[in-house]
Symmetry: C2
Subunit: 315 residues, 2 copies
């Protein structure tokens, strides 16, 4: 087993099987990988909203890689163990016109900087958001020829935004090209299920990953073996908004909207603060998908995130 | 504060504001409520599949109620505290043609009886499913005149199938008629997020509920204050199948299908057993809803439910 390091630059912003590998490793090797934030370092801890609005968005997600894994061939399974993650003490979230799950409600651009203190952030005080950093994007080169932007995820992995992928967790991906050609980036210090405003807590993230190979195993798409270390995320001890409707996405949107209303009316957050808080801490789940014609979505926010409140005080 | 009891029979199977109340209570009162299983007692612990297929399905969900809460008026909020639940040691699940989230895959009727041992069931051994009984249906009479079947949930509550509603949790519902007219039933000893095969562990359930009233408070739909006592449900320490697609419901269906395949190929369950196990223990969640045009759904099964397995053994 060898240990390697891989600096972030030069990053790349497309999935393209013709990209030259920046590092060649053997199965079993560990790599310390430096990842910029999803903007590719265009945003910093003193950026203004004007600077943020002027960044070159074609550089998103500014991935580090590709890494060539010796012996990997199509039909193999690549196992990626997230051994460690280290944030740099700051991160950012934004709201942009035309982006985000509630884009019809939130039109005005907003840029928010987070101070990260070890395992929590209090930047949206009185909310205290637990941190368990993970990479929003981990993937292998796609099977097709050509350059594909990194926004949509797929069987190759990519922009999955699965918050279970924190340190201690393991990702299985199907190998689609010789050498696998693994790349990663889009560090999130925290994120809810849904990532509703379009950002988690975006941050530069250094990670240590271990790569293993399983020869010729069937795998149709990503599987995660989730660590017990992920952020307190249970729907136990939580505020849960329950919404039913005939379209899952619209129902999830309505549930998120009602949670934002609740955070504004009961906890005094600004509308956009509440939206960002939901993006980094709200958990969207499908409570039932069979009571036709209605789906039921639950939007849960752990009570650990918020100061205690009596929702409807007794009179 | 008074304590009341309410026997299950006669049950009712529609939401109808003209139904005569079976019990009148004051705000603050507690009621021990007996609920039949969702079939209204047509299924028993020795039922055969032939008997099950012959039941009168128009009697589902066989609710207990309505309960009139003195002083309740439209515009009020009804608070329902689930103080205690008691299952009777058995339950059932089924697969029926034309019903369920994967109805295109599972056509053959199946009937399964569960032995419930306190807090777990081992009836699908080697799976060990944790039990935290809750009522799939709790609701108030709808605002409209007429009789409405109980399958679709709505702002009035009803067939929400929100598994967080176990003992220790609290449900807030908008009052839509004088007296609120609360009814409940559809006991589930366990259920996953999604309830994919269409049943949880259906069971007769006796519950103790406390009812409080909050006068003239805005509430658009159900909110749950979830107990810390809900079943181990975190996506921590779990197997998670990750699927991305352009339609949320189809993506959730594909993720469920892949989890069933995994349970069959790696743990040796029959196809239909795996489906039922998913219905009572799988957690469907929306990992991201903003990476257009793709949604990402995670289907998570706690490792506590399954015997240890190495997914891809090292060669």
């Amino acid at each position: 087993m060898s240990e390697h390091t891989l600096a972030a630059e030069p990053t790349h912003s497309v999935w393209d099987r013709s990209l030259a590998p920046r590092l060649r490793i053997a199965p079993g090797d560990e790599v310390q990988i430096e990842c910029t934030d999803s903007s590719g370092g265009q945003v910093g801890p003193r950026s203004t909203i004007q600077e943020f609005l002027a960044i070159d968005r074609t550089r998103i997600h500014a991935l580090t890689g590709p890494i060539w894994i010796e012996g990997a061939e199509p039909g193999d399974v690549l196992e990626v163990d997230a051994l460690a993650t280290r944030h740099c003490g700051w991160g950012w979230s934004s709201v942009l016109q035309g982006l985000g799950f509630l884009k019809d409600r939130f039109h005005i651009p907003h840029f928010f900087l987070w101070d990260l203190e070890g395992d929590v952030t209090r930047s949206l005080f009185p909310a205290v958001v637990p941190l368990r950093p993970f990479l929003g994007v981990m993937g292998v080169a796609r099977a097709e020829n050509g350059a594909f932007r990194t926004r949509p995820p797929g069987p190759f992995g990519g922009n999955l935004d699965v918050r279970e992928l924190c340190a201690g967790s393991r990702l299985y991906l199907p190998v689609l090209n010789a050498g696998a050609l693994f790349s990663c980036g889009d560090g999130h210090a925290a994120q809810g299920d849904g990532e509703v405003c379009i950002n988690g807590i975006e941050c530069p993230l250094d990670v240590t990953l271990r790569f293993r190979l399983h020869k010729q195993q069937p795998l149709e798409g990503p599987i995660v073996e989730a660590s017990e270390k992920i952020a307190p995320d249970s729907t136990a001890d939580a505020w849960v908004v329950v919404e039913s409707g005939t379209d899952v996405a619209e129902t999830a949107r309505a549930a998120t909207g009602r949670m934002i209303d609740l955070l504004v009316s009961r906890w005094g957050f600004d509308d956009v603060q509440a939206y960002i808080l939901c993006s980094v801490a709200l958990k969207l789940r499908l409570s039932q998908v069979v009571n036709e014609p209605m789906f039921t979505v639950s939007a849960a926010l752990s009570k650990q995130v918020l100061p205690p409140r009596t929702l409807f005080p007794l009179q």
